[in-house]
Amino acid sequence: MKAQRVSAVARTGVLVVIVVGAGLLFAAPLWWTFVWSTWHTAEIFSFPPKLIPGPDFGDNYAALQGSVGISRAFLNSVLVTGATLTGALVFCTLAGYAFAKFDFAGRSLLFGLVMATMVVPGQITVVPLFVTMVKLGWIDSYQGLILPGLVPALGVFFMRMSAQQSIPSELLEAARIDGAGELRIFSSIVVPALRPSMAALSILLFAGTWGALFWPVVVLRSTEMFTIPVALASLFGTATQPYDQLMVGSLLSIIPPLAIFFLLQKYFVKSIMLTGFK
């Protein structure tokens, strides 16, 4: 009996070491981002690696603000990501619901088209898109930045799956029999049912939109319009990379996605489970 208990404890101990050790490995670089943003560049490369924050955050932030106007970039990122996510959620939910709960001509074709584009590397569209934007006069504008991001194929795929899982067709039929209009049905039945999935989709899309670099770099010109990734990337161009400033910028760029994640994470897991993966 005792031997069994000891070996059970030992096994638990090993288990804990493994999973907690893994946790430390994942968390360490994030902690370092915070720590390194509070030291000057030379200390970042010292050994033993600094584990505790230092006194230089103010300096580094001021330098970063001076070189790329990071606070303005932060606001731009918030604005652009907010608008993109809101729009993407609306469009993908409408489309996903339509694909899931309606039968219409061309449904498989259109859905297939959306799915097919998921395997195409996104960068392939950049140059033609750039030319389009120039012709529309939307270079260096918010709309030029936001509009291409409003139609992620993944979003439609995900919302369709969620709509299939979470909305009982009988409910829709009943509502229609009762005389409810389609818009009414959408707003009072579909949207509430899909709320967890919308939250999950927000998480899935957030990091990609917030951290997007290639398209903003191509379409933006003036420093006032830069989003955070573009602003940080412009620092890469200097002869000596100011790692301390880059760390401050990285820290700032990590905080909103983390916040969103913590706010919405229970929806994320829940909706993954709901989708069932048939």
């Binding site: 560049t41 030379a42 970042i44 490369f45 993109t84 993407a88 590397p121 996104g122 960068q123 140059v127 750039f130 030319v131 120039v134 012709k135 006069g137 270079i139 260096d140 504008s141 291409p148 991001g149 992620p152 194929a153 993944l154 899935l204 899309l205 990091a207 990609g208 939109t209 951290g211 997007a212 670099l213 290639f214 398209w215 770099v217 191509v218 010109r221 003036s222 420093t223 990734p229 573009v230 990337a233 412009s234 890469f236 161009g237 200097t238 002869a239 000596t240 990379q241 790692y243």
Partner: protein, 456 residues
């Protein structure tokens, strides 16, 4: 472009070392832009209807504040009273990409009136057929422009840009560390002592005894050495030449230096490298005229401990200074004729008049323009980093004494060649690959690309 695996590249250019070491520190001059805003297709008719003030937009790297300062000091506003200038600061890599893309696409709406470009991209830009002809604007001033710079701008007897800043490469050393190692410390003595690279390696062995190495090597020493006695990777017509006997000799020398163990191998311009300089573990560096700025930015405590002298010669009788970096100003071809003319006038004012160029070199300390009268006016300026040396005098004299060769970046495959050379030197230095064969293979790969695309 969203999605969990959306991969998003940055606007960084791989020729960082060349471009940015020069450009960032130089903070080259402002360009005055004429008549076009970046978002619209405003014609000059619209502008004059809007009260006579025309807008000229200029793309530059470095900060807008510096350009605005230049606007004041150069007398730009007095010369062009009806013009408002708009500076757009872009990171160098992004600037060139946007320029290439827009000029190549022939779209006016995406372009400013004037763009400052690095000579690394000059040919590629010329090949877009999107640049205004500058021959008539620049040729009259030919005798006032440094010969090697003028030469580099000529494409089939025409010029498509105005000469902007250039660079001269010399060799810097730490007086205090040389003293510690028992080496001479005064510039004329050091210059006589370090006549060849073998002399430098001997000095390196003395320095090693006091714990210091020569400089930081990343495999790019070859690219620096070849400019002393050749025109770089290409000849005047854009033919690949970096597998010639002279180049092979430089590669052998580079390999010798690499194998000597007297250099460090950190990433170029990395924090580790600067820490080594700060701690007195590195005693020399290749020293272009803008290096003052870089040292002030990264190791300010070492100022006044440096001196610059002519480089050691690669071979007996070889040149001891070379061209370094260089940029130019272009005007897109797609503008309206009126706007184009105005833009060209502005560029001429900024780059081919003494007052404007002197103002430019004062605003962007360390910049070395290619307009001789302005350089001569700066002959008294003392270096903030070099001990008791006058920067402009020093670099101008060296470049003319040594009759430095032009650096021909005469191919739109310049960046490809740079990468091919980098790879070749990696193999040669780190993998002991046979020098001549490896260089030839790299050269042939660029030649075949030129053939396939039907253009140099």
């Amino acid at each position: 472009m969203s999605g969990p695996k959306a991969a998003e590249p940055t606007g960084r250019t791989p020729t960082r070392r060349h471009l940015l070491a020069g450009a960032a520190a130089l903070g080259l001059g402002s360009l005055v832009g004429c008549s076009k805003s970046s978002t619209g297709t405003a014609t000059s008719a619209d502008d004059s209807a809007a009260g006579g003030k025309r807008t000229v937009e200029v793309w530059v790297w470095e900060t807008v504040e510096q350009w605005k300062e230049l606007e004041k000091r150069s007398g730009l506003n007095e010369k062009f009273p009806d013009v408002t200038f708009k500076w757009t600061a872009l990171e160098s890599g992004q600037l060139h990409q946007k320029a290439l893309t827009s000029l190549g696409a022939g779209l006016a709406a995406g372009l400013p009136s004037i763009i400052r470009i690095s000579m690394n991209y000059y040919r590629a830009l010329v090949h877009t057929d999107g640049l205004t002809d500058f021959t008539d604007a620049v040729e009259p001033s030919k005798s006032d422009v440094l010969a090697n710079v003028y030469d580099g701008l000529v494409v089939e007897d025409k010029l498509f840009a105005a000469p902007d800043d250039t660079g001269v490469m010399m060799f810097g050393y730490r007086r205090d560390l040389f003293e510690k190692a028992g080496l001479p410390t005064e510039p004329d003595e050091v210059e006589a002592e370090l006549r060849t690279y073998d002399d430098l390696l001997s000095a390196g062995r003395e320095l090693a005894k006091v714990g210091a190495k020569l400089f930081n090597e990343t495999g790019s020493t070859f690219s620096t050495l070849i400019l002393q006695d050749t025109t770089g990777y290409f000849d005047a017509d854009g033919n690949v030449i970096f597998d010639s006997p002279a180049h092979v000799e430089c590669a052998e020398l580079a390999k010798k230096i690499w194998d000597s163990g007297l250099t460090t191998h950190y990433e170029s311009n990395s924090p580790q490298m600067w820490t080594a300089y700060k701690q007195g573990k590195l005693a020399t560096m290749f020293y272009p005229n803008w290096q003052d700025f870089i040292i002030l930015g990264n190791a300010p405590a070492t100022k006044d401990k440096w001196n610059a002298v002519k480089m050691p010669a690669v071979k007996a009788g070889g040149r001891r200074a070379s061209s370094a970096d260089g940029c130019a100003m272009i005007v897109p071809n797609v503008l309206d004729q009126q706007d184009k003319d105005l833009a060209v006038e502005v560029v001429k004012f900024l780059k081919l008049t003494q007052k404007a160029q002197v103002a430019h070199m004062n605003v962007f300390s360390g910049a070395f323009c290619s307009y001789r009268p302005a350089l001569e006016a700066m002959s008294d300026v003392t270096s903030p980093v070099l001990h008791d040396q006058q920067t402009y005098q020093l670099f101008l004299d060296s470049s003319e004494d040594e009759e430095i060769l032009p650096w021909y970046r005469t191919s739109s495959f310049f960046n490809d060649a740079d990468k091919a050379v980098q790879d070749a030197m990696f193999r040669i230095c780190k993998q002991d690959a046979p020098i001549e064969a490896t260089l030839k293979a790299a050269a042939d790969s660029i030649r075949s690309r030129q053939d396939q695309k039907g253009q140099k």
